[in-house]
Subunit: 440 residues, 2 copies
Amino acid sequence: MGKEIKGFSKLSKEEKTNWIVDNFFKETEASKIILKQYWNDDENLQRLHDEFSENTLSNFYLPFSIAPNFLINDKIYSIPMVIEESSVIAAASKSAKLWSSLGGFKTKIISKIKNGQVHFTYLGEKELITSYFNYIKPTLIQDTETITSNMKKRGGGIIDIELINRTHDMKGYYQINVSFDTVDAMGANFINSCLEQISKSFKEKSSLSEEYKIQPNDITIIMSILSNYVPECIVKAEVSCKVEELDKIENYENYSEKFVQAVKIAQLDTSRAVTHNKGIMNGIDAISIATGNDFRAIEAGIHAYASKEGKYKGLSKAKIENDMFNFSIKIPLALGTVGGITNLHPLVKLALEMLDNPNAEELMQITAAVGLAQNYGALRSLITSGIQQGHMKMHLINILNSLKANEDEKKLAVEFFKDKIVNNRNVQNYLIKLRNSDEL
Amino acid sequence: MGKEIKGFSKLSKEEKTNWIVDNFFKETEASKIILKQYWNDDENLQRLHDEFSENTLSNFYLPFSIAPNFLINDKIYSIPMVIEESSVIAAASKSAKLWSSLGGFKTKIISKIKNGQVHFTYLGEKELITSYFNYIKPTLIQDTETITSNMKKRGGGIIDIELINRTHDMKGYYQINVSFDTVDAMGANFINSCLEQISKSFKEKSSLSEEYKIQPNDITIIMSILSNYVPECIVKAEVSCKVEELDKIENYENYSEKFVQAVKIAQLDTSRAVTHNKGIMNGIDAISIATGNDFRAIEAGIHAYASKEGKYKGLSKAKIENDMFNFSIKIPLALGTVGGITNLHPLVKLALEMLDNPNAEELMQITAAVGLAQNYGALRSLITSGIQQGHMKMHLINILNSLKANEDEKKLAVEFFKDKIVNNRNVQNYLIKLRNSDEL
């Protein structure tokens, strides 16, 4: 049991590193070197990054990349994307370029409301708690004013507060549902702070008015927390063009028709829907990370929305009507362009500037377009050459690197594997033969 | 339209950087410096990271951190986690320590099968395609042998192939469903390569036997692709102890009971379920990224699984039976410890070594325990002090950094805000007062 430790978080970074490598690694010096080779030379910058989290030992690199030529609502963007998976950026760029020649992406905000709940139990009469809620409602809003004043100045704040009776689901269970407009902030801290204040006031102030016969002890606050389910914070993105134009530009027979079929399959088959939506998230997460947004929140909200009709479905739709091809997506996206790490992480600030410093609504629209482009790219590969051709080309480079191939060997290997199956063994065999030949 | 470009991917990194900063930034030199300050001094290491993706301009830092004291199946782990959100690591560490004193996490693999599908249409008679499928099935498996031979040596490969009639969903729509054991690989490339080979053989070889009256042109392959929906790749993790022990150690009245209520709410309310599961994913994604796994695939599979009963639900369960508290999670997790970037990214290799080089089943179990610990930590905060207390303490540091507070100012601010509302304005006001006072 020698690998347990007390007070780890209190140790310095150096001490933490020493303890970890001494207890979990055979080659302690080599492991330290690996951790330290990722430190930034600039101590202040490194400290900033260390303090984003706790017990930080090093920086994990993810590629910060660019997908150019996105034409969205008649404006051209280069999209900053952070993702470790090969061929995602290539696919996004290819889709963007194609659609920029066909009028680009059209996007719009459908709605932009977020919610949070105070979950509590009360075992008394329903009418009493309802009356008390209606009585105290203005006070609940008033008591959040020190928290909401700045948000109000920016045009946001609390939109509404309502009491929801859930006693049919669980004994004595009620919710106070609060809806918010958080303007350009994702707003998690803001919403949670408001909710905690509301729950405190709601419980404590029940003693103020005797007529409702409710005492603070009659109300048990279970928890107060924002919801990452944001079905009222919706953005739509679409592309469209003549069927014959698309079939011609993709140079594939019945391309549009087959594309529509592939999208339909994701609507009716869960196994396919999950992977279909995963491809959309490749794009959405990549721009979300680059712009400092919390991708776990976005993932949860979007996937839950995909199951809103009782069956998990694909998030995009495609149709052919009057010889016009239309491909669209409608998704919940609670994004922020202020707060969180957006004004702290230097590359996030740079990413936002690259996008012309969008407000939250603009970023939602750009992000939805990126998701649609990513979905388009994956489907195009799938219904034509198959996904592996492009994927394996990029994967080949990774395998070559793992086998420590030099630049000349890489070039020859890429050429050789153009029409062959790429896997570890085949690439290894090829390299062995190559190194034994005179070709280099 | 000067911001469009042809052949961007063909440019060198330097040329790409120049084009981006010239076209999208006001301060071109300053922007270049920001991008370059994240480059690694070691050119070979930098090239390796650049090649994980396409059009890479720099490295995006995410904190590489440690949550120690995880007791899982009687073995102690320090968990490598990569996440930008403050307080996640602190919460995981705290949960781990608590449960290590109560017997730790118990985990097990329930099943470990992955699936992929060839989606195709065939408009002829159902009986004919079924007969043809049964006839060609051994050949389909045989034709993948160059792809599967290595996987077979490691104990995996194709488990079964079946034809599924989906013509009631869409005209002429069938699937060939293939199930796989990919041993220690996540296996996406392996599965997709097999499926593409199977689809090719299935279509082409229909001409071989005249008795089925099927020609290659009668079969239209729509696509061949693995599924990230993995409801047969399931791992379970749980903790349990006496109710009185837990209530005592958490030092909170009716703690266990309230905890069970909070978990139940995530079962019955979608708004809560999404956020509940998001908290689980904070932990699961953080270890998945650190160990080189594709978190979009994991997210999609888990959230779809959360909706498998027709309603999106919380993924964990809690109960009190015979004075015993039990908290558990059962989730799909298709993880790999070989292939992909696992043996390429130096910090991923280090993370896997820190976990004693687990195989895929072991990593699934460790990861499920981390998810459960994260969920426990979030729920504990929510039902006791509220989530904001811990969150805001960490967030305070970020705000102080954004206001360029020095180390002395930070210490005083942390002390001052212990019992006060943390937001940008309040911290700013505090700093102004502090800087005008004699305290420093």
